[in-house]
Symmetry: C2
Subunit: 337 residues, 2 copies
């Protein structure tokens, strides 16, 4: 496509710098190396080939090559609970000295005693209350620093990995390959937008302006001459289910041509994406690999996938089996830190 063979070595080097290393690497290596050569990989490659073939009937101009990705359970893990919930619990513990009243508040007290099961027993309402208590009350800049400190130090209770080491290598391959083919990649997550943004550029190659998520309200204030955005304990937007297409339109302003999810919370995002004209790619990651990750779908309280499994075949959506389609789950990490 870029005709690199016509360039001198020096010019090629310049060209590589211009387009970024990923493009050249992907053009030389076999694409999607961590995917097994099954139907899912074939469908992805066929879709990308069709929309990028200039002069072909399905050609899509680069500006319209928008791909959207759910985060929890699609780009990284979500068991035994959403990783952001671990962050919330750690924040409750860190902030407890400033909140003596939490000792007498049911779910907060359970967190402080280390009783996760009791802490989660209050359901979504109690969890949301803890999110508000721990995510608000700072400026956006302070919250960014809190997240950066946590995400580079906290470790998953069973794998012992940093949470950012529990991203899925096949999805990293897919993100890179889409971008090498002119796609703009976005995250559309039910998780908190300001919890995700501080690390997506480093981990996924996705800049903050391409991250959409749930949010609380902020308020602009000038404090002692310094303008800040204060985070308020008030919901702004829940980016889940029907909220995902709404947020995609609000944020991106055009319909994606490819969407990737793993739960029924992503159903409407895939439905909206697939309903546009021309070639479309809608893919669900199916967590069916108890040996290497986790096996859950219809009955899971986290990442429940039932309607998606039922309707995917008739809708032409791809269900990628982690067990069969993925040669690898997590990235390699150095054995010694």
């Amino acid at each position: 496509m870029i005709g690199l063979r016509h360039l001198s070595a020096r010019a090629a080097l310049v060209a590589v710098t211009l387009v970024g290393y990923g493009a050249l690497a992907s053009a030389q290596d076999a694409p999607l190396p961590s995917w097994n050569d099954g139907a899912a990989r074939k469908a992805i490659l066929s879709f990308i080939e069709r929309v990028t073939r200039e002069g072909g009937p399905d050609f899509v101009p680069p500006a319209e090559r928008i791909a959207v990705f759910d985060n929890d359970g699609t780009l990284w893990g979500e068991q035994p609970m959403y990783f952001q919930a671990f962050f919330v619990f750690d924040r409750v513990k860190a902030l407890a000295p400033q909140h003596p009243e939490w000792q007498a508040k049911e779910q907060f007290a359970s967190v402080l005693k280390g009783d996760v099961k009791a802490a989660l027993a209050g359901g979504e309402h109690a969890l949301l209350e803890m999110v508000m208590a721990t995510h608000a009350g700072t400026t956006t800049q302070e919250f960014d620093q809190v997240v950066r400190a946590w995400i580079t130090s906290a470790r998953h209770p069973t794998t012992g990995r940093l949470y950012t080491e529990m991203v899925y290598q096949p999805m990293l391959d897919l993100l890179a390959y889409l971008r090498a083919n002119g796609f703009k990649t976005f995250i559309v997550s039910g998780g908190g937008i300001e919890f995700i943004r501080p690390w997506t550029e480093r981990v996924y190659g996705i800049p903050p302006e391409q991250v959409i998520g749930s949010s609380i309200k902020t308020k602009y204030e000038v404090r002692g001459g310094t303008p800040v955005l204060a985070r308020l304990p008030e919901l702004n937007f829940i980016d889940d289910k029907e909220g995902k297409p709404v947020a995609i339109q609000q944020h991106i302003g055009r319909r994606p041509i490819a969407a990737f999810g793993n739960s029924d919370g992503d159903f409407q995002m895939l439905e909206w994406t697939a309903a546009g004209p021309g070639p479309r790619l809608a893919l669900l990651v199916h967590h069916d690999d108890a040996a290497r990750e986790a096996a859950y779908d219809r009955e899971s309280s986290i990442g429940r996938l039932a309607r998606g499994l039922d309707e995917a075949p008739a809708r032409g959506w791809i269900v990628a089996s982690m067990k069969k389609d993925w040669a690898q789950i997590y990235p390699e990490i150095p054995t010694k830190k």
Copy 2:
């Protein structure tokens, strides 16, 4: 910077295709040709040179080169009233047959009689009511088509130009030059986001995902098997004054390093941008050219600029005089259609 002189003609052609024509054109021509060689142009060029000089003390990595632009009065005109108000009035007329009740509604009736002054006499509340009545009730896709049809045919009452021919050539030059220097350019407008998006890519080179604006709520529905986003007569967000930094954080997730406005509605956006560390560029377009465009500031109900004029010098913000700093106002257009 790109070392084009080392490339063969063929390789150069490839490189130009890769980086887009704008980069090469800007590298060869004098930058900002429609700006007079005064203090404003010098300050812009000096800022861009500082943040792009690799190894220099003020170097900013490309990913952080975010520039935000107000639209009304900054990128295109806003007199004798916001161009979107002309659209609203035209929509009231177009939709009137379906709304016999509007004949008896004060401001609506005035619009239908062609009495603009009386139509605007109801102030913001009445105008907002007309915005809701004309901007809601469609799907996002239908509204997009309505805007496209209007923007390519409606003409300004005094200049006779299409509204998109009343964009400011010096700002087009600036947008192109910033992008040629690795900046990502965003619109942050008080105007309706879905009114602006359909034409910004063609006119400004700004894709829809880089447009932020005021909005009404939408709702995801599946109608007879087809998913739609229905536009509701309910305000979602007013992107003005303190709302601009809030929306910038929500949408972009990082602080811009350059901001361009023309009214006190842009004050907080410039203040927020200028308060970050390192070199910052904050610029106000001053409408002081009655001969070629319009002269208004402190006393104008549209595009009022008072605090900005008062505080710009002490804050180090640039006030660009349309009369003195701009060699040209609008782009050349063919004399015959």
